[in-house]
Each structure stands twice: as C-alpha cells, then as structure tokens.
Symmetry: C2
Subunit: 342 residues, 2 copies
Amino acid sequence: MVGIRDVARLAGVSTATVTRALRGDPSVTAATKAKVQAAAVQLGYVPSAAARALSRGHSNLLGLFVPDIVNPFYAQVAQGLEDRAAEERYHCVIASSHLNREREQQLLTSFQDGTLAGLAATTVGSDESFAAALTATRGPLVLVDRRPRGFNAPLVRTDNRKVTRHAISRLFAMGHTRIAMISGPREFDTACQRLSGFRMAYQDAGSFLPDSYIRHGHLGEAGGHAAMRELLALPQVPTAVFCFNNLVTVGALTAIRAAGLKIPHDISVLAFDDMSLFPLVDPPITAIAQPAYEMGRAAADMLLRRLAGEQEVTDIVLPATLIERESLGPPPAAERITPPAT
Amino acid sequence: MVGIRDVARLAGVSTATVTRALRGDPSVTAATKAKVQAAAVQLGYVPSAAARALSRGHSNLLGLFVPDIVNPFYAQVAQGLEDRAAEERYHCVIASSHLNREREQQLLTSFQDGTLAGLAATTVGSDESFAAALTATRGPLVLVDRRPRGFNAPLVRTDNRKVTRHAISRLFAMGHTRIAMISGPREFDTACQRLSGFRMAYQDAGSFLPDSYIRHGHLGEAGGHAAMRELLALPQVPTAVFCFNNLVTVGALTAIRAAGLKIPHDISVLAFDDMSLFPLVDPPITAIAQPAYEMGRAAADMLLRRLAGEQEVTDIVLPATLIERESLGPPPAAERITPPAT
DNA sequence: TTGTACGCGTTATCAG
DNA sequence: CTGATAACGCGTACAA
C-alpha cells in the first residue's frame, strides 16, 4: 500500500504539498508540481477513497434508489444520473427496493452511514418513520418521478397531466367515447396527475366517465393483466385503454391477446412510458415517452449543485411526448352505431 | 454528528465495548450489550462508513462494470448481483462503460482507490495496459459473460456453444439449409463460442457454410441492422438468421421489417438473449435465454466468497435455454425446391 | 469481560 | 509557496 507519505518522501516535500500538487492547487510551483506528479506515477500512488471520505466529510458516491433497475425506465434514469455524475468524478450506488418498505428502510440506513454524498430516489414509502429517516439524512436528497406525501425535497418529474390530457383528447377525436384507464395506486401523485389529465380530457369532450372505467391501484405486469381482464369483463367493454406505465401496459397487452382481441381493431391501447421494443410489437404501440435519461441527468445535476453549496434547488418539470404508432385506431364499427348506455 | 464516543459515554462504557456490543461479539455481557444498544438507538447512532472502511481496510461496496446498464441483460445481472450482495449487507456501484476504452480505464482507476471491495466486470478491453490495471487491483475480480485475452480472473458465463449448436440444429431440422449468423467482434470469446456452436450444427447437418453467411464484428442495434441489410442484399438470401445478442436482434428485426419481409414466412429469426417483450413482438421471437439474474448472483457470490477468505474460486458455467415462440418456421417454398448454389 | 491507546491515509488549518 | 500537525471516526491489539 503506497501512501501519500511515500510520495512526499520521494518527491522531497511534505504530504500537504502532495495533496495540493495533485489537486492542481494554483499555489504550487510548476516545478514542485512536476516533481510530485512524477513521484506519484512512479510509485503508482492512488489516494485512498476511504481516507479521503473520512477526511473530507463526504464520499464521491451518489445514490439512486429505484423500485426496479430492470425496468427500462429506471435503467435510463440510472444512465442519465451516472453520466452526469461521471462528469464530476462521482460514481453511483444503485439499489432496487422492489417497492418493499423494509428494503427501503434498510437502504435508507446505509445512506445514513455516509456512504453516499447525495441521494436520488423514487420511493414508495409515505409513512412517517420513512419520511423522517429520509429527511434526517446526511447529504442532499432529490426525488425522482414522484413525491410521496410528507416530503419536501426537490423533485424532477414530467408534466403528467398535460401530456395525458393531450393524448386522451386524440382518442376522443378518433371517435372513442368509452376510454378506460388502468391507474396506479391512489397514493402515487403520478397516478393522480395522469388521472387528472385523463378526466380533463373527458370533460373537454363532454363525455361521461363511469367509475368502472378507472381501475385504481394496479402496478406491474400482473396488475395490468388483472385490470385489463376486469375491463374486458365489463358489460360495456371500453373501446380504448390508457395504461399507467410500461409494465402495466405489457400486462394489459398480454390480457388483450389472451382474449383474442385485435389492436386497434377491437380496442385501442395507449401506453404511458415508451419501451425500445414498442415499435416492433404487434401492433407498434403508441406511447407517451418520458425523458427518463434526462430526468436522471437532472437529478444528478441538482444533487451536484447542492453539493457545491447551492441552496436554491427547486423542482424541475420535463416535457413528455406522445409517440404515435399503430395501437390507436377508431372504435369498432358496432360501437359507433350503438352509443354507450348512460 | 453523533459518534461512537457519544454512545460509549451515554452507555457508561468504552468505545471498544460499543463496537463489540454492536457487532454482536459473544464476549460481551447481555446486560452491557442491552445498555449499549439502548444508547445507540436513543442517540440514533450510525457508524461512519468511511471510518469503518478506513479502519477495516475495505468497504462494503461491490462494483459492477458493464457495457450498458440500459441493456436488459446487464440490468438483470445487476439485479442478481445486488440481491446477493444485499444478503451480505453489501451495496453495489454500477458503472456503464459504453464499450469505451477510456471510460473503462477511468472506471478502473476509481476502483484502485479502494472504493470497491470487489469487482464484477464485463469488459471489452483486452490490451496490455488494461489487463495490468485490472490485475493490479485492490480487491477480488470476477469476470461476467466473457473473458478478454490476457485475463485470468474467474468467470461466470453460459454454455454458449452447446445451446447454439442445439438451437441451430432445430433450424436444419425444419428444412433450412441457408442459415446466416450476425456475429459479434472476433475478439469476444462469446462470439467465438456461439460461432463455434453454429459451425458445429452446420457440420452435424452436413451442410456447406459460405463465408458470406457470417457477418463478423457487429454490435448494437445499428450493427444488427447493417448486417441484416448486407445479408438481404446477397445473391442467395439466407432463409434464417441467428443473431449474436439482443440488441443485434432488434436491429435485424428492424431491417427485415423495412425490407417488407415477413417472419417466419420469408425468413426465420433466432435470437441470442431473451427480452421481456419478445413474446409480444410480431411475430413472437424465439430466443436463447441466458440466466442473467443468476449470473449476477453467481458473480456476487464468488466475490463474497473471496472476500470471506476463500481462495479457490473457479469458473462457473450456467445453462442457457431455448425458448420457442414463432419466429422460426420452414424455409420459403421456393427455396425448398431450388437448393442453394454452393 | 472491559478499557486504553494507537493506527488507518487524507485533508485542512495555521504558521513560517 | 510550503511544512508540521491536528483532526476525521472506528477497529483492535494489548493490557488490566
């Protein structure tokens, strides 16, 4: 283990000078700097991260807590975060909570030990103890995608309501009157916002929205699948579905296929969150794409700024865009003739 | 910042006892242990990760270097690694190299500073300096998926040759005689192994394999796309294609679609690496699925074992499985009548 | 069983 | 511009 003292000795200077020289401190003669650097490379000296962290008071690690790194949306957020962090010589600790409270708590604890200089998180926990743990943290905190109740950390998100309203209006424009939504848990502000946009589109169209067309609390492929089955079992089957997120969409798609229905001929499908394979799906899926990568970058940026001393870090809202493919079409002919009861 | 001394004071013991009590050392009275724990929770004491790492000589962080965390294959590896690591209270630092040598070197340096206790990596670098850097590392190293030349670290991989040979034989059994392969870089041992299995299947079938049916050095969606276009421009268009990996498959699929060809009617497609959306693609893609999650777990396990003092850690080969869907079919009728010109 | 005291490798303060 | 030295917070021989 070659340490800073070895370098200092070889270069004929003090350890303090070594630090300064290596950090490029302007108050060091070019000559000394050269000597030190030469000694450092000759010895293959690399400063100890642990010692540095202990001395400086914080590490060069940014944390990212997400529900599931396998979900491409979060993987992209991670990529954005990492790329931005790398620019500042930071690295990323990525952890998946699987939407599990215990795991989240456990992760939080490991953050309290100062392993991380800052944390970007998409959490599910909204209970008191959780919020307390998250707030009583060592470094800056940034929320990604959604903000659970009781948190006041800055958030980076997309304009859920606006895009949703816009996208759903397209469906109405195509002649649909019976559009359903498979929504997420009521506690998710994202679910609320998307639902809000959905409702606004209904109002804009002057249509009536039966409660049964909104399936709350569905998450993941299984949730999407179950919700879609419920929807298909309704007396008045909807002619279009709006899915809360990518996984829910996949589940819904599977259910529709299992039921032997054709998209968009029998039913139209609109997804929130795009996926790289959506263009190749049968049929290509029309989706609302969130700028996941940019969200990750923005989160890292906010963290970095706070780490650099900046106090005023506020929410940032990024635009999502509707990517039109082929899963949206006019409602089935029969439906156009027989308007829905009620 | 509440430190160990505060806890010691409140509990009326020494710092040494605090450490021992908290670590569950058997040489501590149940009574003292209780006192200490009470004091610790009362004060909300959390040991500093940096101080601990400095003192113990290594952190509780495992590193994972992959080409691209957005690639679902690596995301699954990451998930497996993290899950296994979490069992041992380790966390994961994940970094994407984007197959970029410079970035890999940079990442390597940050590993040399002791940030990581161990490293699992899927690297591209095979040059001398890179190997040297990777070997002159602080903690144990495990290779995932492939081993570049010059490395002697243990590897966790799948039996590429065997599955490939098996899968390709299915194609021959269906009547194909003109099967092409879009392969990866020649330096990748994975490419060599899959190519080897491919060739063996050709031998088993007693068929002749023209050089033009093997496209070397293709990677990513762009690579797959380009290679597929070349294949489609051949005088004797192949009746089936085997794609090196998931991204290459996507690119090939896009090219086939752009050419207006139907799968499997006009051409059959076999993918290496499964993807969650393959069942929904038009048509559902038949793929060779690698146990990515298990590979990640295995890698973490090997690292953990070495960290626990075990010396004998050897390669581990996991089985891959062929998942049959609908992208494989008999060759076009015309082809069955007119055998390929040598 | 428990306490004392030192080491881990840097950084940063404060003289010079 | 450079050097000596005190933290940083924990783990652990060694002693009691």
